[in-house]
């Protein structure tokens, strides 16, 4: 309601607060279920059927099925919970984080080796940094879009 949210003006960032947590409760608890090996097997055998056991929104289920972590975040997912999906797929945390930027795995890894993403232009929404909405997606996915 009147929760003070000073973090809404940070670009490319969703803070997992009480409101997000409420929205994402079942999505995140679904993710948590993947910490058990038998659930990972059941999920991989029929993802849709497994997801349908959870009272998640269709939007959330599509986010999971398409492995669109930004969509999962927007609908209340938290990255530490969503990481269980990546672990089920055998992905590293770097691959997961990179997947949210539009960069290829190599591009993202190269950015990190050369010092990571700069904070310049990425502090406030409306600046011109590479994390700003107008500059999405980044890297190869962006070139593909432009082509």
């Amino acid at each position: 309601m009147s929760l003070d949210k000073p973090y809404l003006d940070v670009p490319g960032t969703i803070i997992f607060d009480a409101e997000q947590s409420r929205k994402g409760y079942h999505l995140n608890q679904f993710c948590m279920s993947l910490m058990k090996a038998e659930n990972r097997v059941r999920f991989k055998a029929n993802e849709r059927a497994y997801l349908d056991e959870w009272p998640m929104t269709e939007e959330q289920k599509q986010g999971v099925l398409t492995r669109d972590l930004n969509r999962c975040m927007a609908t209340g997912g938290n990255i530490y919970f969503l990481a269980k999906i990546g672990a089920t797929d055998g992905l590293s945390f770097q691959q997961m984080a990179g997947s949210m930027t539009g960069m290829t795995e190599d591009e993202y890894r190269a950015m990190m080796i050369s010092g990571g993403r700069s904070v310049e232009g990425n502090r406030y929404i409306g600046e011109d940094g590479d994390a700003q909405a107008k500059n999405q997606p980044q890297g190869a996915a962006n070139k593909k879009k432009e082509a």
């Binding site: 000073p6 973090y7 940070v10 670009p11 490319g12 960032t13 969703i14 803070i15 997992f16 607060d17 009480a18 947590s21 409760y25 995140n28 608890q29 993710c31 948590m32 993947l34 910490m35 990972r40 972590l69 930004n70 975040m73 938290n78 990255i79 530490y80 919970f81 990481a83 269980k84 990546g86 672990a87 089920t88 590293s92 945390f93 770097q94 997961m96 984080a97 990179g98 949210m100 930027t101 993202y108 950015m111 990190m112 080796i113 010092g115 990571g116 993403r117 700069s118 904070v119 990425n122 502090r123 406030y124 590479d130 994390a131 700003q132 909405a133 500059n135 999405q136 997606p137 980044q138």
Partner: protein, 289 residues
């Protein structure tokens, strides 16, 4: 009487644990990271504590959204390394110190910190990676950590997380608690997590060396100023997961100079490196003067 003699600060990046467990620590990508802890491993041998009070955060491992404690202290006899989805890390069981942990819990609750007491939990990379970095992975024929560990988990996953000031004050309460314990124990307190990193969204991969190094400077020489940093500054400057740095303030608050007992601390070691996976790695060892 027990006493806190030193504090250790280090990132706890899961990929560091994975690299070490897979024997990749000599590879060019990882070698500089581990080299930053060569001094620390020797220091641990030369200054072996009786107990480590290890401040970390759980990453949706032991705590789901069903129950989110702001501060949780482990009073169990032991803790298993958790399966975080890739199988459990092949590192030793963590042996607790139930007597000291219970004593600290009682003392700190009576100092108006509203702890959750935990008697059963698995510990994730947030706790085991710092142990690996500071002690190395123990060999098969001596498969144990050098000393008991008291896990202290801080919620930095769901907002609102505790403020830096609250964490700093808590560290002071922990120091008082330790010093009121009868047995003569040498206790180290570790603050883990950080430094700048963001794991989510189009801003993933953010690193801010300037912020990180200024934070290290402040933490060493002017911890009260570090404690005054508001949440939003961490998020904006150090990435959404940079907020983990508030945990370092718990360890720093437990040092003698904060209580006016010494003029500053002895900086034994300082290390900074980018990157480890998505993260900047920072590390300090401070001893009481």
């Amino acid at each position: 009487m027990a006493r806190i003699t030193a504090s250790v600060y280090t990132s706890h990046v899961p990929a560091i644990g994975a690299a070490l467990d897979a024997g990749k620590d000599k590879e060019p990508y990882w070698q500089p990271v581990f080299a930053g802890y060569d001094y620390s491993k020797q220091w641990m041998k030369d200054n072996k504590p009786d107990v480590v009070f290890l401040v970390y955060n759980d990453h949706a491992t032991a705590f789901s959204l069903d129950m989110i404690p702001t501060f949780a202290i482990g009073t169990a006899a032991q803790y298993q390394p958790a399966d975080e989805g890739y199988g459990a890390r092949p590192v030793p069981t963590v042996i607790g110190h139930p007597e000291l942990a219970s004593h600290i819990a009682q003392s700190v609750i009576q100092q108006d910190f509203d702890l959750t007491i935990v008697n059963k939990m698995d510990v994730d990379h947030g706790l085991t990676v710092p142990l690996s970095l500071m002690c190395g992975n123990p060999p098969k024929d001596a498969f144990h950590w050098p000393c008991p560990v008291i896990p202290f988990a801080v919620n930095v996953v769901q907002y609102p997380v505790p403020s830096g000031q609250r964490c700093f004050n808590l560290g002071q309460a922990i120091r008082r608690a330790v010093e009121s314990y009868d047995e003569d124990l040498n206790v180290h307190i570790w603050g883990t997590g950080g430094m700048s990193h963001q794991l989510q969204g189009p801003r993933a991969g953010l690193i801010n060396k300037d912020f990180d190094n200024a934070f290290l400077d402040k933490l060493i020489a002017d911890p009260a100023a570090a404690a005054a940093i508001p949440h939003i500054d961490y998020v904006r400057e150090a990435g959404s997961e940079g907020i983990e740095l508030v945990m370092w303030l718990i360890a720093r608050g437990a040092m003698a100079d904060v209580a006016g007992r010494a003029d500053g601390v002895n900086l034994k070691h300082r290390f900074f490196h980018v990157p480890a996976s998505n993260t900047a790695v920072g590390h300090l060892i401070l001893e009481n003067k």
